[in-house]
Every structure is written in structure tokens, then in C-alpha cells.
């Protein structure tokens, strides 16, 4: 028990709060662990703080997680790399807790520390730790061990290396599927550190065992290993060992395994080289594109572009394109939707002629799809279309698609298409836009759903930015202002919203001459909601217009509103008046 000097009060409190009953205070202290360590000095940190933390292992998970994270960057506070080993015991304990995120963080921190440790220290401290965890009684320790081998292995001696390989292979045959999963997902990392000679024997054996595991969840992770292992092997070894496995996997009984293959297959093409790709992987991929399970086709369809890019145009046209054609009329809307989101990327691969001849019809049919997501996905990639074939070929089909989406009964679909309007406008050009889409943009302002009206107002602003104030003056402003006569107050409110958004784009002059009068008139509205929105809009206009205008029109209007019978109107009017005063004062 000691008296603490006054300036040390905060730090003493921080230390005491490591053991506070309030978890928030404990968390706060743990997050400042480096400060505590520096206050204690390196030696006492090693001798007192770290052992203290090692015992603090049954705290709440949030605290343990924070501790695992802090310890990862703690080397400077214990006296540098030569003392890094003192950090291992508390992290080893954290590697055994039940909560996955704590363990993962502890493993991450151990890897971070291990990668800075001296080789001799790794052998003395880190390797034994990995072995202890791998032989742990509970599966949690063994799961954590799997993620540490790639750090321990490189510095170990030949005999130790052999032992580590055998320990890892035991983990791959553990009784607990959780451990086998951890081993499978870390196999790639570990393999990258193993010498080529052992890679072909030990590691490939482990890999083959994992690919034949009873548990689907383990085989799934083995699929992920295929690509990373493939990249480590020489092409001919990859063809000999990995290729048969992946071809097998592509015909696995479990759709989840095939799904993984569909997602990963293109990565493997590089590893095996062009010839095996053509003879083995393309047929496998084509099978996946025609899989019975829609989920697999979704994954495969999502990769058509990436896959085609690896192939020569001839192969893509010959093998992939026919499948794409089939998928465009797939029975599952999600498959079509996945296809629609990537299909335009195929255009550069196929070249202009094949695109116009073969891809365009598919594209058009997707644009007429009954499922709005499919159409939206096509429209969202319109810029890519433009680059390859130009918009003219499409415009005829495009318009009906847009109009239909614009009037879709689901408001989320309408919202999505509104958000693409500025993109469409920039691609289609002013002429096309004026003729066909201008009316739609106005129509949305009177939608039944608030989010749509709000998005519509925003859309007008973005259009004004795209085409400039002159265009807006002609095609937007009069129409919008006209709507202030609408008998429904919610629509009048939308007009106010649009005005406040348009004003900064239109500039001072138009704001004063066209927009402001409408707002001032609206201040006489009979609905209080309109009136206090007028006050808000007026406030937003202050920085845009001249002081003289503020004094002549805005302030009197607000003064009137400040005496309104409605309390909310008075409140917002006063707010606006205050901000006028501020602006006037600062200038």
C-alpha cells in the first residue's frame, strides 16, 4: 500500500481499474495497457504486469479480446525483441479460450510477435508453445495451434521440422472437425514455408487426406487450399496432383463443395497453365455452369467474365458463350441476376463483332427480364456497354426497360433505378434524356413513398450538376416550381426539399429570381409543416444569396414566421434568424 503522488493519480486509477467491477472501465484500462507498461518501466512490465495479465484469463471476452490485441504490439514495452518471449505465456492462455474471436486475435498477435523474434528464441520458446497447443486437451488449443506453424517452421532444425510436419498431419486427422477445419484452412500458409521436397510428399499427403474427409465442411476448406497449393507447386506437379482433385471436386456430391470450386476455379487456371486449362478446367467449368443446383450456377455465372479473360477468345466463344446463352434464360432469377451483373465484362474479351453478334441478343433479353434485379444489374453496368458497342444499338430496348423499372410496384426497385439516372443521363446524353426520361424524373417527385420523393429531389440536383444550370433552368426548375400548387402538402414539401438542394447548384442569381419567391410565398401556407420547412429552407439559402437579399426578403419572412401560432414554426424560424445574425456578425 503506498501513497501515490498527485500527478500519478490518473495512471494509478488506470492500473486499479484493471480489476474494476465495471467492464467498461476494465476495457478502458486494457486499451491503455501500453501507458501502464511505460509507467511501470520495462523490467516491472516483464516481471509484474505480464504475469499479472497471464492470470487474468477468465475475464469477459471483450476484455480478453482487447488484451490479445494489445499484447500483439507490446514488444517495445517489455524491452525489445530480446525479451519478446515473455509475451508468449499470456497469449498462449488466450489461445485456449472458447470464444473464437479471442483465439483468432491471440493467434494473430502471436504470429506478429513470432515474426519479429530472433531465430534462437523461436526455437526455444515459440516452437515448444506450438507443440503444447497442438497437444492440448481441449480442441480450442489445437485449433489455435494450426495457425502458428508457418511462423514456427522456418527457424526449426531439420529434426524439429520433421516433427512439426508430423504434428500438423496429426491435427489434420484430429477427432474434432473444428480442428481439421482449422488445419485445412491453414494448410496453404504452412505449405508456403515447407521445402519443395517435403511439399510433394508430406504436404500433398495431408492435402489428399483432407480432400477425402467425411465432413463436407472440411472438404470445403480443402478446396480453398487448392489454389494456394497450386501456386506453390511447379506446373507439372500441379497438373499431376491438384488438377485431378479439383476435377473430382467439381463433381462432388455436395453442392457446397461444387459451389466453392465454381468460385475458385479461375484462380487455378494460371497455376496449371494453358493446355490443361483447355482440356480439363474448361470442361469442368462448363459442367458447373450447367449444374443442377442453382446456387452453384449462381457462383459459376458470377465468374464468367473472370474465367473468359484467362481464355483465348476462340475458347470463350466456343465453350463459354453457349452456356452464357443458356444461363440468360435460366429458371432461377438469381442466376440470371448474377450473370447480368458481370456479363458486360465479357465484351472486351470477345471483341466487337462477337459482342454485337452474340452478346447483344443476350444482353437485350436480360434487359427484358421479368425480374427487376436482372434489369437493374444490366443498367448499372451501362458505362461498360457504351465503351464497346455504343449506346445507340441499345437505346431502343433501354427505354422501355427503364420506364418499366421506374413504374415498378416495389419502391426499392424504383429507388434503385433513380440512383442510376445520373449515370444513364451521362451515357445517353442530353438529347435522349430530354425526350424520354425528363418526364419520369418529375413523376417521381410525386411518388407515394417518401424515400422515392427524397431520392427524386436528390436526382434533380445531380442532373443539374451533370447538365449545368442553363439546362436545369429550362428543363427542371419551371416544372418543379409549378408543383408548389399541388393540393397535397407532402408534395409541396418535396418541392421545398428540391429547392434547397438545387439552390447551391443554380447559384445566387437564379435562386434569388426564381426559387426564393416561391419559398416566400410558401411561408403563407396553411399547413404548419410547410411553414417550418420554409424556415429551414430559408436558413439553407442564407449563405447562397447576398446580404441585401437576406435583409430584404428572408429576414422579414422569418420574422413573420417567428410569430406563428405553431410552436415548431416559431422554433425553426428563430433558429434561422439566429444563423442570420451569426452570418451578419462574422462578415
Amino acid at each position: 500500500m503506498s501513497m501515490v503522488d498527485e500527478p500519478l493519480y490518473p495512471i494509478a486509477v488506470l492500473i486499479d481499474e484493471l480489476k474494476n467491477d465495471d467492464i467498461q472501465l476494465r476495457l478502458n484500462s486494457i486499451r491503455r495497457l501500453s501507458t501502464i507498461a511505460r509507467a511501470l518501466g520495462e523490467e516491472r512490465t516483464r516481471k509484474e504486469l505480464i504475469p499479472f495479465l497471464s492470470e487474468n484469463n477468465d475475464d469477459d471476452d471483450e476484455v480478453l479480446l482487447a488484451m490479445a490485441e494489445e499484447l500483439g504490439v507490446f514488444i517495445p514495452y517489455v524491452g525489445g525483441v530480446e525479451h519478446a518471449n515473455v509475451l508468449l505465456p499470456p497469449l498462449e492462455t488466450l489461445c485456449t479460450v472458447e470464444e473464437t474471436c479471442v483465439r483468432d486475435k491471440a493467434v494473430e498477435s502471436l504470429c506478429r510477435i513470432g515474426s519479429q523474434m530472433r531465430e534462437s528464441d523461436l526455437v526455444d520458446w515459440f516452437v515448444p508453445l506450438v507443440k503444447r497447443l497442438a497437444g492440448g486437451e481441449w480442441f480450442t488449443a489445437r485449433v489455435s495451434a494450426c495457425g502458428l506453424f508457418h511462423i514456427a517452421y522456418p527457424s526449426a532444425s531439420e529434426t524439429l521440422k520433421a516433427e512439426l510436419r508430423s504434428v500438423f498431419s496429426q491435427l489434420c486427422q484430429d477427432d474434432m472437425p473444428m480442428v481439421r477445419r482449422a488445419a485445412a484452412s491453414n494448410l496453404g500458409k504452412f505449405a508456403a514455408t515447407v521445402e519443395a521436397a517435403h511439399l510433394k510428399t508430406d504436404i500433398m499427403q495431408i492435402f489428399e487426406d483432407l480432400t477425402q474427409d467425411d465432413q463436407d465442411s472440411v472438404r470445403l476448406l480443402a478446396v480453398e487450399g487448392c489454389a494456394s497449393l497450386g501456386k506453390l507447386l511447379k506446373p507439372e506437379d500441379c497438373v499431376a496432383h491438384i488438377l485431378p482433385v479439383i476435377v473430382n471436386f467439381s463433381q462432388d456430391k455436395s453442392w457446397r463443395v461444387r459451389y466453392m470450386v465454381a468460385n475458385q476455379l479461375y484462380e487455378l487456371c494460371e497455376a496449371v497453365g494453358p493446355e490443361p486449362t483447355k482440356t480439363e478446367l474448361v470442361p469442368a467449368y462448363v459442367r458447373l455452369l450447367r449444374d443442377n443446383e442453382a446456387e452453384v450456377r449462381i457462383a459459376a455465372a458470377g465468374k464468367v467474365t473472370k474465367f473468359s479473360r484467362i481464355l483465348s477468345p476462340e475458347l470463350a466463344i466456343q465453350h463459354i458463350l453457349p452456356c452464357v446463352k443458356e444461363l440468360s434464360s435460366d429458371s432461377s432469377q438469381h442466376v440470371r441476376s448474377a450473370l447480368a451483373s458481370v456479363i458486360m465484362g465479357m465484351a472486351p474479351v470477345l471483341g466487337k463483332d462477337a459482342t454485337i453478334e452474340q452478346l447483344l441478343p443476350i444482353f437485350l433479353s436480360l434487359l427484358k427480364d421479368e425480374f427487376p434485379d436482372v434489369r437493374l444489374n444490366i443498367i448499372s453496368k451501362l458505362d461498360q456497354v457504351n465503351q464497346v458497342i455504343g449506346i445507340d444499338l441499345l437505346s431502343q430496348s433501354l427505354l422501355p426497360a427503364i420506364v418499366e423499372l421506374a413504374e415498378d410496384r416495389h419502391w426499392r426497385v424504383r429507388l434503385a433505378i433513380i440512383e442510376y439516372i445520373p449515370l444513364l443521363a451521362s451515357q445517353l446524353g442530353v438529347g435522349f434524356f430530354d425526350d424520354k426520361l425528363g418526364a419520369l424524373c418529375m413523376q417521381w417527385l410525386q411518388d407515394k413513398v417518401y424515400s422515392i420523393r427524397d431520392a427524386a429531389a436528390n436526382n434533380l440536383k445531380r442532373l443539374a450538376e451533370e447538365f449545368g444550370p442553363d439546362w436545369a433552368m429550362q428543363h427542371i426548375v419551371p416544372q418543379v416550381l409549378d408543383m408548389i400548387k399541388n393540393p397535397h402538402y407532402l408534395y409541396r414539401m418535396t418541392v421545398l426539399r428540391a429547392i434547397s438542394l438545387l439552390a447551391p447548384v443554380m447559384g445566387s442569381e437564379i435562386t434569388c429570381s426564381k426559387l426564393l419567391p416561391v419559398v416566400i410565398t410558401a411561408s403563407k401556407d396553411r399547413v404548419p409543416n410547410i411553414k417550418f420547412n420554409v424556415a429551414k429552407v430559408l436558413q439553407s439559402l442564407i449563405p447562397i444569396v447576398d446580404h441585401s437579399v437576406v435583409d430584404k426578403s428572408i429576414r422579414p419572412c422569418l420574422v413573420d414566421l417567428a410569430e406563428d401560432p405553431d410552436v415548431d414554426v416559431r422554433y425553426f424560424a428563430n433558429q434561422a434568424l439566429q444563423s442570420i445574425d451569426q452570418v451578419m456578425m462574422t462578415s
Binding site: S2, V4, Y9, P10, D16, N20, R32, S254, W255, E293
Partner: protein, 507 residues
């Protein structure tokens, strides 16, 4: 078939072992105390019960703990001593509370429908419990009770006999505020604050003493809002990371670590609810095949599905149902055909199902009909009309298999439960009462000639064909029904619930 054709096995002699929450004569049973779920964990060292009041009570085995040594050896050497599992109360916690769904104007009962144990880790127990709507993942663990004995602060208060953390620390912000530190200066204690190289010797780490431990149950995850109808089953997958939950019309697949997302894998909801003819009554994963699961229906069929086949398993890979005997159809046929529970045997080859009148044992490799059929309370058949009138006919009895799959058990009325031998040739059919004297109602097992081996493929009816079951002339009590029971995974020991009491028997 090893588990089916062992030698002649004599019927088990059941003895009373323990009772928890025994009712004294005339004591009124509180509705909330009625047990609604029973489950042993995989090792058989723990037992959990859930009740209508949303509580989960845990029991732990005591009889082999003091020996510390390898249990398997202990079992071998101690076999002659005939040790039977004994349990003691471990802890309890409130798993679910009554809730109200404001969107649907529905009250959600707190009653625990099912409990399932998950993989233990680091000595902590994990289990899933569910009511009608929400599944929760619980961790029960011994925690040290910590006392902070020494701190840097508190020079005046410290008396040396150890101060509990709470009072000392909650009072610390005040002194340092009065000493002129604002909150801001405290929290902005910055990293560029300079400390002497050797640290500040006067600072002390708090010293913690802990000599007691207590059990703490913490809810780790809540899996909610995925079921429109009432959840009737939850079941863990052998992969250790996923589980399913089933309601009347759908089965969802969850990852234990992800509580905000689940995948619908079975959906029997017709587009038009008026076309609804069949609902899901129970679902269970295969004990070792991670991709196989079985679910039963109100029409008396069991479907086996293969999760590998497709993402939404609309098509079953196998269908088990017994064709209706011609001419026997009555108003009640469909109601009593409804399966209330299914359970896989430990090896996963056999599947037990319970409908209102019978227990059926199925071989999952044989979908032509059950391997055996056991009549549970055939004497009730004439009384179906009464049972329908008082809704008893909709009671959902559970069933269980012994660890070696040689026997099956299920409950009945009047707090009775029945144990049948399912080895070929076995005539074992015991009736026990959930009381301290289980054999009180023991009925003479009808002696029957052993069946020829060839009859194994045929469904066999035996056990309760006598109408004289009511040996004592007592009228049967439909209010004391024994719905929930569980067989110990490795030993012949049964735990069963009679209202609020948990009875344990061994043989």
C-alpha cells in the same frame, strides 16, 4: 446389424435411483415448475431440464467423479459393484422470459421446448435452449470470485484486511476531481506523457485473491426472428459448427457463431395456406453424417434429406411411412398417425419414432416399413373419442433409445413409461411408474414364442395387446402424462419428468 442380433438378453430390472423436486402429498403443482425438456449430454456426465417457467436446471454426475481416474477402466473394474449413475443439482438459470411480439400481437411463452448440449471446451458447458421463437446459446462455467486485496489508490481506507473492488474504486473519481483533475485530463492521459526510464516505483498493480468459485451461466448468442411458427426441435450437426431449428413449416440451418443469419433448408409451406395438409413435427440431424437429417410430419411420415443434394431440400432422399392397414380407417386415424418425436440411435442406423399409439423402430436402409412396432397403450384405443374430447389426443410424447440401441422407451398416461427390447427375439416390454416404486404397476409381460428371424423385416406388434393392463383397477389419469424422458448415453439409466418432478431409474 451387430446391435440387433446379440444373444438372448434378459429383461432389465429397473430400480429407483433418485428424484428431484418430489411432490409431497396434496401439494399443488405450479404450472411454471412443470418440466418441458430433458437432455443428457454426450458423455452422460450432465443432465439438463427445462421447464415452463423458462428455467434450465443442470445436474452433474457424482458417482464416478471422486475416482478421478480413467472412467472407461473404472467402468470395467467396477462393473460388479453395479454402480449406477447418480446426479446432483449443479446450477440453474433463467433461459427465457415471457415476451410480447408487438408486430403480431402475440404473447411468446417462456416455456423451454428443447435443450441440446453442444461441445464442451475448457471445462465450460455449452447448450442451446429454445422456446417457441428464440434459440439461445448458453455457456456455463466456473468463475473465480475475485477480491481485490491491494490497490495503488486508497491510502486512507486501506486497512489491510482486503477491500472489495467495488466500494474503493467507485469512490476514486471523486478524490481526483477534487484534487483538480478534470475528467478530460484523466482520459486524455496521453501517450507522449514522459515516464522515467525505469518506470515509477510507487505504482502498484492490484493484488487479487480468489479462493472461491461459483457457476455462472452466460447467454452467448441469441438466434431470433427466424421462425414464423412455433419451434418444435433443435438439433446439432456432427460438424460441431451448425445446428437446425424446425417449426411447423420450415427448417432453418444456423452456424453457432452467427446469430443474425440462417438458411432455410426445408420449406413445406404451400403457396395457399388453405392447401396445408401436413406440418413438420420434429427434426433431427444424423449423429455422424453431417449431411443427413430426418424430419417427421403430422401425417406419420419421416423424411430423410441429404443436404448435399441442393440448397433448398424440397425433395427427400428417403421416405419412411407405413401404409395404412385397409379397412381400419376411422376419424382418428390421421390424428393418431402424427409423429410427436423422432430420435436417431447412437450409430445412426436406426431411427425411432413415436406416434400417439405406438413406437416404431426404422432401419434407415429399409424404407418399406418399420423393423419393429411397439404398442404403447393399446388399451386406450376404445377411448380415443374421450381423448379427443379432452384434447389429450394431441399430447406430444417423446421417445428415446438406449446407448446400445437395444432398447427403446417412451411415456404414457398415469405417469407410466414403457421400455421395450428391440433385439430380434426380445419380448421385453416393461411398464414403469414414475414414482419411488417403479414396478408397482408392473404388468406381467405376455410370454410369446420368439419370432423366427425371417419376421424381422415385418412390423411386429407386441407388448401391449392385453386390455387387462389396468391391473389395479385404477382408472387412468389423463392429466398425469409422462411426456419427456431421456436415456443415459452409455448406461441403462433413464431420466423422466412427471409434472415438476424428475425421476431417475437404473437397471
Amino acid at each position: 446389424m451387430s446391435e440387433m442380433n446379440g444373444g438372448e438378453v434378459s429383461p432389465l430390472e429397473w430400480k429407483f435411483s433418485q428424484v428431484f423436486g418430489e411432490r409431497t402429498a396434496g401439494e399443488e403443482v405450479q404450472e411454471v415448475d412443470i418440466i418441458s425438456a430433458i437432455e443428457f449430454d454426450k458423455s452422460g456426465d450432465h443432465l439438463a431440464t427445462g421447464d415452463r417457467g423458462g428455467r434450465v436446471v443442470l445436474f452433474e454426475r457424482t458417482d464416478n467423479k471422486e475416482h478421478g481416474g480413467n472412467r472407461r477402466e473404472l467402468e470395467k473394474t467396477d462393473y460388479a459393484l453395479n454402480r449406477h449413475p447418480e446426479f446432483r443439482y449443479k446450477t440453474e438459470f433463467q433461459s427465457h422470459e415471457p415476451e410480447f411480439d408487438y408486430l403480431k400481437s402475440l404473447e411468446i411463452e417462456e416455456k423451454i421446448n428443447k435443450i441440446r448440449w453442444c461441445q464442451t471446451a475448457n471445462g465450460a458447458l455449452f447448450l442451446l435452449s429454445t422456446n417457441d421463437k428464440t434459440i439461445k446459446y448458453w455457456k456455463v462455467q466456473e468463475k473465480k470470485i475475485k477480491k481485490v486485496a491491494e490497490m495503488s489508490m486508497e491510502p486512507s481506507k486501506a486497512t489491510g484486511n482486503g477491500i472489495v473492488a467495488t466500494p474503493s474504486v467507485t469512490s476514486t473519481p471523486k478524490p481526483h476531481l477534487t484534487n483538480g483533475f478534470t475528467d478530460k485530463s484523466y482520459t486524455s492521459l496521453s501517450n507522449d506523457l514522459l515516464f522515467p526510464p525505469g518506470g515509477i516505483p510507487s505504482l502498484r498493480l492490484p493484488v487479487v485473491t480468489s479462493n472461491e468459485t461459483n457457476l455462472v451461466a452466460r447467454c452467448r448468442r441469441v438466434y431470433a426472428h427466424a421462425h414464423d411458427y412455433h419451434i418444435n426441435s433443435i438439433s446439432n450437426n456432427s460438424d460441431g459448427e451448425t445446428f437446425i431449428s424446425a417449426d411447423d413449416l420450415r427448417i432453418n440451418l444456423w452456424n453457432l457463431e452467427i446469430s443474425n443469419q440462417s438458411f432455410n433448408i426445408v420449406d413445406v409451406k404451400p403457396t395457399n395456406m388453405e392447401d396445408l395438409t401436413e406440418v413438420i413435427t420434429s427434426a433431427e440431424f444424423h449423429p455422424t453424417h453431417c449431411h443427413t437429417l430426418a424430419y417427421s410430419s403430422s401425417k406419420g411420415s419421416i423424411r430423410l434429406i441429404d443436404l448435399r443434394q441442393s440448397a433448398l431440400c424440397d425433395k427427400h432422399s428417403k421416405l419412411f411411412e407405413e401404409p395404412e392397414a385397409p379397412g381400419s380407417r376411422s376419424f382418428f386415424t390421421e390424428i393418431i398417425a402424427s409423429i410427436s418425436d423422432i430420435k436417431f440411435g447412437r450409430e445412426g442406423r436406426y431411427l425411432l419414432s413415436r406416434d400417439y399409439m405406438t413406437l416404431k423402430l426404422w432401419d434407415i436402409n429399409m424404407d418399406s416399413g418399420p423393423v419393429s412396432t411397439f404398442q404403447v397403450h393399446e388399451y386406450l384405443r376404445p377411448k380415443l373419442c374421450d381423448l379427443y374430447e379432452n384434447d389429450s389426443i394431441f399430447d406430444k410424447f417423446e421417445c428415446c433409445l438406449s446407448g446400445d440401441s437395444q432398447r427403446v422407451a417412451t411415456g404414457s398416461y398415469s405417469n407410466l413409461f414403457r421400455v421395450f427390447g428391440c433385439q430380434s427375439g426380445s419380448t421385453e416390454a416393461t411398464t414403469l411408474e414414475a414414482s419411488k416404486n417403479p414396478m408397482r404397476r408392473q404388468v406381467q409381460t405376455p410370454s410369446r414364442p420368439s419370432r423366427s428371424l425371417s419376421s424381422i423385416t415385418r412390423a411386429v406388434r407386441r407388448g401391449g395387446d392385453s386390455t387387462s393392463v389396468d391391473a389395479n383397477g385404477n382408472s387412468f389419469d389423463f392429466t398425469t402424462k409422462l411426456l419427456h424422458l431421456a436415456w443415459h448415453p452409455t448406461e441403462n439409466s433413464i431420466a423422466c419428468a412427471a409434472a415438476n418432478s424428475l425421476y431417475m431409474y437404473y437397471a
